[in-house]
């Protein structure tokens, strides 16, 4: 199998920084996310994740450190988590999700709690 390269998207005002390390399995998504064509923006992210999870048994740590995201990003985040949930349950992956939120940002904490309820994975809510 081909070695999978790292994946990186530089963040801007309306797109998050995406930093996926293929060797360590640490995947970071941070910043703001309200791209007007969210589906298209997330497409390469899903493609990379599908290739990365083609081989079973990897250890993956997915970190979200968001300050704001719109509703279409909210749906895409859930789809990413569902993809990893499937990997964990059916392909021997070891997946943990860390939801980092600014400690006074109760909306962001609540968003994390809702994802934690929705996905069956180890899920940590971490204030900073």
């Amino acid at each position: 199998m081909d070695k999978i390269e790292n994946f990186y998207i530089e963040g801007s005002d309306y797109i998050p920084e995406v930093d996926f390390n293929a060797e360590t399995g640490v995947l970071n998504i941070s910043g703001e996310s309200y791209h007007e064509y969210t589906l298209e923006f997330f497409e390469p992210i899903f493609e990379w994740l599908k290739r990365y999870t083609a081989e079973g048994g990897k250890k993956i740590e997915l970190n979200f450190r968001m300050s704001y995201f719109n509703t279409s990003s909210s749906r895409r985040f859930l789809e990413i988590m569902n993809l990893l949930e499937d990997y964990h349950e059916n392909k021997g992956g070891q997946v943990v999700i860390n939801w980092h939120y600014e400690k006074n940002d109760l909306d962001m904490l609540e968003s994390g709690e809702e994802y934690a309820e929705d996905v069956n994975l180890e899920f940590n809510l971490l204030p900073y």
């Binding site: 309200y34 007007e36 909210s74």
Partner: protein, 183 residues
């Protein structure tokens, strides 16, 4: 010329009298949204109120962008985007965000029902509805949870107005109130 000046002056006064701090007509791109975010942070003292206001503004603007029946071609983006109007009124205790755009008349009933339904729900029920809808597949560009999200953040009912234009098109206006008092 003098008439033109007078009209603009009236327009400006009207906006002042209605406490309008920001208004925009056209296609509201992500680049414009980013600037609005910065502007709101400087205009509103409370960080949580400005975040909430920005979040609602983005949903309103992106609804227009994707769903307005009136489209405009952008040479920079190489595709069309929806046109509408959006404004923010800043009163001492609360803000009102409003958006308006053309919509195909056959879609009106569905949207009205959706708004009415959302307005009957308690915060816990809204949370549940949001989570349920987010899991359902959609065929469209968005997540289909924008209205619920705005109602949750605002804590107030969604207010809407429909003006029939002709057989095919109506004007749909939506207003969301945001309290400045921390909940």
């Amino acid at each position: 010329m003098s008439e033109e000046k007078l009209t603009l002056f009236n327009y400006f006064n009207d906006m002042n009298n209605q406490e309008i701090i920001l208004t925009f007509k056209g296609t509201i791109s992500q680049e414009i949204l980013a600037d609005v975010g910065i502007s709101l942070r400087s205009k509103l003292n409370s960080h949580s109120v400005s975040k909430k206001t920005f979040a609602i503004f983005v949903e309103l603007a992106q609804n227009i962008y994707h769903h307005s029946a009136q489209k405009e071609y952008s040479a920079i983006k190489g595709r069309t985007a929806g046109v509408g109007v959006i404004l923010i009124q800043n009163y001492s205790d609360y803000l009102i965000l409003s958006s308006g755009n053309l919509i195909e008349s056959y879609k009106i009933e569905g949207i009205q029902e959706r708004c009415e339904y959302i307005n009957t729900l308690s915060p816990d029920e809204l949370r549940e509805y949001y989570m349920k809808q987010r899991k359902r597949p959609t065929g469209g560009v968005g997540a289909n949870i924008g209205l619920i999200d705005m109602a949750r953040r605002s804590g107030n009912p969604l207010e809407y107005q429909v003006v029939k234009i002709d057989e095919y098109y109506s004007f749909f206006a939506l207003s969301i109130k945001v309290s400045k008092h921390e909940s």
